[in-house]
């Protein structure tokens, strides 16, 4: 049972930075914009949040600083892609490289500082329930925030007028513009929100998940978040499931290795990726499912003509 608890909680925690970043990107892509720079925004968020903690800011403010730094980084992409209508792939990649460089530069001076990471909440009574307590009620606040933001984003996208407008812009910015919606402005907000969430995911890494700063500490999580959005065929709940599947496979392969399973560790390490590919293949069997929620104008630049 202890082992099950370890695997379950490990999965939930490992999935948290992916959930933040991928949900943010989902909103961006739903507005018809493709921002490939998640990795860079996460790194900037991670560096700023860590920096804020070292500078003595209280934890909630430090996390906010990380999120805002991610948003600020995304603004760079926004200006390039939305105002100057540069190629979104190129602008996103530039942001990924830029963010990695900027965060490395910022991090030069505080690399050796150990900090006290974000502490788990000990919810009175609930966290003491046998089994269920450690399974559900002993995470740090950001884990719950990730779940809450999933609920909020899923609800926003499918049940609110704002979500409908956002999706319309992602489907056909021309029509949205003709009806009178400020397409570029709304896309800016979506991009900023994506940056905020990526920054939050990065902050989670540097102040909660592994409370330290090392250069390029995201180790590719931004790219996985990007892939998760495709994997989820642009549905919020599938983003959540995908993040858990990926996190779970990572934990399981490590448990398998430590138990001495008669499988080479290289193969076990590839498991999360293999599982992802298998699911993608299954999804691709169903064309309709793939196309249903795909934002038709994704990555196409839009300039209001009138």
């Amino acid at each position: 049972m202890d082992l099950f608890v370890a695997i379950f909680t490990g999965t939930v925690i490992a999935a948290t930075p992916l959930i933040f970043a991928a949900l943010g990107e989902l909103v961006v892509e739903k507005s018809g914009v493709l921002n490939l720079g998640i990795e860079g925004m996460m790194l900037v968020g991670a560096a700023f949040a860590f920096w804020a903690v070292v500078a003595g800011l209280p934890m909630p403010l430090a996390i906010l600083a990380g999120a805002l730094a991610g948003a600020a980084a995304s603004l760079l992409f926004g200006v390039l892609a939305l105002t100057f209508l540069t190629n979104q792939y190129a602008a996103g990649l530039a942001l990924a490289i830029f963010g990695s460089g900027v965060s490395a530069f910022l991090g030069r001076n505080f690399g050796s500082e150990p900090i006290d990471g974000l502490k788990p909440l000990a919810i009175p009574l609930l966290s003491d329930i046998p089994v269920l307590g450690p399974l559900l009620f002993r995470y740090d606040p950001l884990v719950y925030l990730a779940i809450l933001s999933f609920v909020a984003i899923a609800w926003f996208l499918s049940r609110t007028k704002g979500g409908l407008i956002l999706r319309t812009i992602g489907e056909s910015p021309e029509i949205a513009h003709a009806i009178g919606y400020p397409v570029v402005k709304i896309r800016y907000w979506a991009v900023l929100f994506g940056g905020l969430m990526a920054g939050l995911g990065g902050a989670y890494l540097s102040v909660a998940y592994t409370p330290l700063w090392v250069e390029n500490m995201t180790a590719g999580k931004g790219w996985i978040a990007l892939a998760l959005v495709v994997f989820a065929t642009w549905r919020a709940y599938r983003v959540l499931l995908g993040a858990w599947l990926f996190g779970g496979m990572t934990i399981l392969q490590l448990q398998g290795q430590a138990l001495g399973l008669a499988v080479p560790s290289e193969l076990l390490s590839a498991l999360p990726y293999l599982a992802t590919i298998v699911v993608l293949v299954i999804i691709s069997q169903n064309r309709q499912m793939l196309a249903e929620h795909f934002p038709a104008s994704l990555a196409k630049p839009f300039r209001p003509t009138v």
């Binding site: 202890d2 082992l3 370890a6 695997i7 490990g10 490992a14 930075p17 530039a94 490289i97 830029f98 963010g99 990695s100 460089g101 900027v102 490395a104 530069f105 030069r108 690399g111 050796s112 150990p114 990471g117 890494l205 998940y209 592994t210 409370p211 330290l212 090392v214 250069e215 390029n216 500490m217 180790a219 590719g220 999580k221 990572t250 934990i251 490590l254 448990q255 290795q257 430590a258 138990l259 001495g260 399973l261 008669a262 499988v263 080479p264 560790s265 290289e266 193969l267 390490s269």
Partner: protein, 364 residues
Amino acid sequence: MRDVTRREFLRYSGAGGVALGVGGLPGLAAAEEKLKIGVVYVSPIAEIGWTKQHSLGVEAIKAELGDKVEITVLDNIFMPQDAERVFRELAASGNKLIFGTSFSHGTPMQKVAPRFPETAFEHCSGIVHLANLGTFEAKYYEGTFVAGAAAGHMTKTGKIGFIGGFPIPDIVGPANALLLGAQSVKPEITCNAIFLNSWFDPGKEKEAANTLVSQGCDVICSMTDTPTGVQVAGEKGAWSIGYASDMSKFGSGKHLTAFMLDWSRDYVGAAKAVAAGTWKPEVRWDGLAAGVVKMAPYNEAIPADVREKLKQLETDIGSGKVHPYTGELKDQDGNVKVAAGSVLSDPDIRGMNWFVQGMIGNLG
């Protein structure tokens, strides 16, 4: 030391990524008699870890030879194709001694070295030697054996955990020695091993440490380039063993010791030899005796008499009285690999691709 500002500027502005090389640098009017030395790091110079220990070697050259040398340092050069360009540029711009600090620098160095026969190349953790390419490497296993003995004294569960980058001999060997050191205290101890199959992934390293703790390991040895393993072990109340640098400040008081690397002897030795014109390509492979491997201060929680024993063990390994791989050694399936009374030969140590009995893990 000369700062390569243009390259750094480009890197941090994100325009160029790594390895733009030094070709476009304005030639500095160096005084004729100065010995020009080039050093290529595989990662940025962090405050701890692999590259930090190499930077201490460079510092040692500066301390020893002062303004007789001019050192050019390039960091974060990992990909072999980038490295080849960088090595060629360094050699072409008149550096007489060039250090490569990672296994991945090997192939490019072997390609570049023959074209610059007047230049001395030194490769850390290399295996191939040429007329002007020498290598230096540490006997990590001596350090892990001592650390393992410390773990053997402190473990309550009789299970220790090991986290490594890749299942290669340079990491499998030290993992074995860790367990053998622990078994020298209590023969029934076992060791669970996890390989991240990545040189660098703090998140995965955290999960690996968590996994080992959840499976009952109460000492975690992390042979990776971040303090994550030490940090997680400390949070979970398990003892930890650091690698490359002293990582005690990350260990919440649970850092038993670390097997540290000190390359200053290799760096200063090569620089002096080149300056004196006596440099020859050598195969240097040293451990505790030469001080290339050093143990970090032992945790005060280890009983004083045990700490004395560990220090004695360091001396005995250094003098050759104790050899970590002394028979009888069996592999995981119980086959005798080293007969009682003999020790594993040096080539066999450097090619170790099997786990000793008591290791739990699979090498495929």
